[in-house]
């Protein structure tokens, strides 16, 4: 059914709002998960209550005081009596975090390049969120609006914003703009530690972009498409059995590069706390800092989504093309139906891996990082691409 312009605009706006809300809500949830997972790895409890006396006088025990945070704590305390739910007691911390970041003094250091200093977190966060427009969370419609709904009644609501046929190219292009935010922000701070951090991260992100992109070429070659939906479907269901180990290796190379791309341990050199204080965002406070923070976590979601889509079978149940075998059981079986739940499950698992690795591994040194990137990952991915092309030629 062709849509009118109004319908098109309203639908797009609805999707944008939903997508932004989804990512924006996922980020604080990941930070909470990060606290909890790392805490449990380190045999401690992590966040169990929210501190501070927001809105109202602070009195007595934290969960009985007449403040907003006190009330929240009280609520969560009762929730915590349900055995499995007790780990969520500290959940309101992210609200407190957001309030704190919003109300912090916004400092622009003296001697900083003011315009660039303010602009660069925006560059990072805009590029991080724009990328999601090409990510398909599920193929086809999530639900259909009922007919009585104003303007968009009777239209399907897609789980992707755009269905560009060069989706992957778009994703890689936009996401690599984010590094400008980091480099410019570091440079504009007019401070030495951020400068070192910015230089590190420029070198790091640019060198890891190469193997990252090359490893994504493996599914591109195998499927012959650049469209997110199409690639996800074909790598899950139409893969030649010879290509399964290829996807497996490709996945590991991709994940390694993804850790470097998102500045996470063991490649968190740009913000290595024990070396560079905070790296490129040392001079940033308040919302400007939280923009970098949002961008970093949004990038984590993005690289997880890409890995889930191209290597782990996307919206289908099984990873690495194993779904191909299941498909013989008939397309109508429940395990052969694509679902947004499978996709989200994989994304969440990968996000867990990010946190898990952070709790376990030490950090690489700058020269070793370059060494790993240029001397190992790039040659390996080139071999992978060659083999992928060979398989494509045979099959």
């Amino acid at each position: 059914m062709p849509m009118t312009l109004t319908q098109l605009v309203v639908m797009a706006l609805l999707q944008i709002v939903l997508l932004l809300a989804f990512v924006m809500m996922l980020v604080p949830l990941i930070t909470f998960a990060e606290r909890k997972v790392i805490a449990y790895v380190q045999v401690r409890l992590g966040a169990t209550r929210t501190a501070g006396g927001l809105w109202g006088a602070q009195a007595g025990r934290t969960h009985k005081s007449r403040t907003l945070t006190g009330g929240l704590n009280g609520l969560m305390w009762y929730l915590g009596r349900v055995p499995m739910l007790s780990i969520f007691r500290g959940l309101p911390v992210f609200i407190a975090d957001a309030v704190k970041l919003l109300t912090k003094e916004d400092i622009v250091p003296e001697g900083a390049d003011k315009a660039v200093f303010i602009l660069s977190p925006a560059i990072s966060v805009i590029s991080a969120f724009t990328v999601f427009s090409a990510v398909a969370f599920a193929p086809g419609a999530l639900f259909t609006f009922p007919a009585w709904f104003p303007i968009v009644g009777g239209l399907p609501f897609n789980a992707f914003l755009t269905d560009i046929n060069v989706g992957l190219l778009f994703i890689l292009g936009i996401s690599s703009v984010g590094v400008y935010g980091i480099v410019l922000g570091a440079w504009a701070s007019n401070s030495k530690y951020p400068l070192l951090g910015g230089l590190r991260s420029a070198a790091q992100i640019i060198s890891y972009e190469v193997p990252l992109t090359l490893s994504l070429l493996v599914p591109v070659i195998l499927t012959g498409s650049l469209n997110f939906n199409e690639m996800a479907r074909r790598t899950a269901t139409e893969v030649h059995w010879l290509a399964i180990p290829l996807l497996f290796v490709g996945f590991f190379i991709y994940t390694t590069c993804a850790f470097a791309e998102t500045n996470r341990v063991p490649f968190d050199l740009a913000e290595a706390e024990t070396e560079l204080v905070s790296g490129f965002h040392t001079e940033y406070t308040g919302m400007k800092f939280s923009f970098y923070f949002l961008a970093e976590y949004a990038n984590m979601i993005l690289v997880s989504a890409l890995a889930a889509g191209f290597f782990l079978g996307g919206h289908y149940l099984l990873p690495f093309g194993f779904q191909t075998f299941l498909m013989k059981a008939g397309e109508t079986a429940w395990f052969n139906q694509p679902s947004i739940l499978f996709f989200l499950g994989k994304v969440l698992f990968l996000l867990f891996v990010f946190i898990w690795v952070r709790a376990t591994l030490p950090r690489y040194r700058y020269d070793q990082l370059m060494h790993v990137g240029w001397k190992y990952l790039i040659p390996y991915t080139l071999v992978l691409i060659f083999v992928a092309a060979l398989i494509r030629y045979i099959a």
Binding site: T274, E275, Y366
Partner: protein
């Protein structure tokens, strides 16, 4: 065509990984360290001068605040130095208890080193594991003397009190699980590729340089020199203990890591021997009411967790205070090796080097 310029950067005195208030002035060419100058003195309290106005009994309190993560070792050095000055013989049971507590303290100091060193290199979990065990040791100290860090554990001539009831059981409970905990740290680090990459061949210091710079302790032993005062000039009850002095020849950060971990195993062994062979008897020697020295001088060194900790006393005729007191602090001397270890290396190696030297700024500045 392009102008290049070296950058000068101040690492500290407020920096997450300078372990207190060490300030290191670095001259950087990109990420390469051209010149490294440690600047100290931010924590100077003049302990040596203060002790000239304190009696020998009072002075020990100040030793707690030098190397505050190994205060029992500091107490032992002070007490034994003063006993040497006055020719006091300490009962055997007191020697055993002192040895046991000092070795527990060595464990707690090494655990703190392990945790912070790993944290500096980016492995954050080891820190919390190490602190979990350190907590148990501090509980033992608390049971013994009521304090966890600033213990002032000993008295001149022995101990103030005998062990509290249940103390041996508490130590034994720690002993029973500690070796497993050590294995746990090792699974996270020893064969970890990234850990090895960050430590093998990093911050090299060979034995000749170490001796020339006066470096002692695990840093010297990791360079291949088996100098350990517990063996070379036994004090307390170490002459009766069976233990090995672990050495490595590589002289790099990884070797120092291995030496310290092995030392923890040996400390565990010594503590077990103290627990098993604890003799009965008094814990305090008979002392005159007021200690007054003839003019004489004494140097007494012990093997503190960081290296040779020496106390030099000059007594004054008829005085209850030392005329002059000097501390040969291992952290202070070891810190000299930092430029040697880091110049020409990368910025990240400076962090590893500071961690592996295991300096405590309270002791460097005194």
């Amino acid at each position: 065509m392009f102008k290049t310029e070296e950058m000068e950067i101040n690492l500290g005195p407020q920096h997450p990984s300078t372990h207190g208030v060490l300030r290191v002035k670095l001259r950087l060419d990109g990420e390469t360290v051209v010149k490294c100058t440690p600047i100290i003195g931010y924590l100077h309290r003049g302990v040596e001068k203060i002790c000239e106005d304190k009696t020998y009994f009072q002075g020990q309190v100040w030793t707690d605040r030098m190397d505050y993560v190994a205060s029992v070792s500091n107490n032992l050095g002070w007490a034994e130095g003063v006993e040497k000055l006055f020719g006091i013989t300490v009962p055997r049971r007191a020697h055993y208890i002192r040895t046991m507590l000092t070795e527990l303290n060595r464990l707690s100091s090494h655990l703190l080193w392990l945790g912070t060193h790993a944290l500096d290199i980016g492995a954050m979990t080891v820190f919390l594991y190490a602190f979990r065990e350190r907590e148990q040791i501090l509980d033992c100290f608390e049971a013994f003397c009521g304090a966890r860090l600033t213990t002032t554990a000993f008295r001149i001539g022995g101990l103030r009190e005998d062990l509290p009831p249940g103390f041996i059981k508490q130590v034994q409970a720690f002993q029973d699980r500690f070796l497993d905990c050590l294995d746990e740290y090792e699974t996270l680090l020893t064969e970890n590729r990234i850990w090895k990459k960050r430590t093998v061949g990093v911050a090299l210091l060979n034995a000749d340089d170490a001796i020339a710079l006066g470096v002692t302790g695990p840093v010297l032993r990791a360079a291949g020199n088996p100098y350990d005062i517990r063996k070379a000039f036994p004090y307390a009850a170490y002459a009766e203990m069976q233990f090995d002095v672990p050495t490595r020849t590589a002289g790099d950060t990884y070797a120092r890591y291995q030496v310290r971990l092995e030392e923890m195993r040996q400390s565990h062994r010594i503590i077990q021997q103290c627990v098993d062979g604890l003799p009965e008897g008094p814990v305090m020697a008979k002392l005159p009411k007021v200690l007054k020295s003839e003019v004489n001088e004494v140097y007494h060194a012990i093997e503190a967790p960081k290296g040779e900790l020496g106390y030099y006393f000059v007594g004054e005729k008829g005085s209850q205070n030392p005329y002059r007191m000097h501390v040969r602090a291992p952290s202070f001397v070891n810190l000299q090796a930092l430029p040697k270890m880091t110049e020409g290396k990368l910025l990240a190696d400076v962090i590893a080097a500071i961690g592996t030297l295991d300096v405590v700024l309270g002791e460097v500045d005194r």
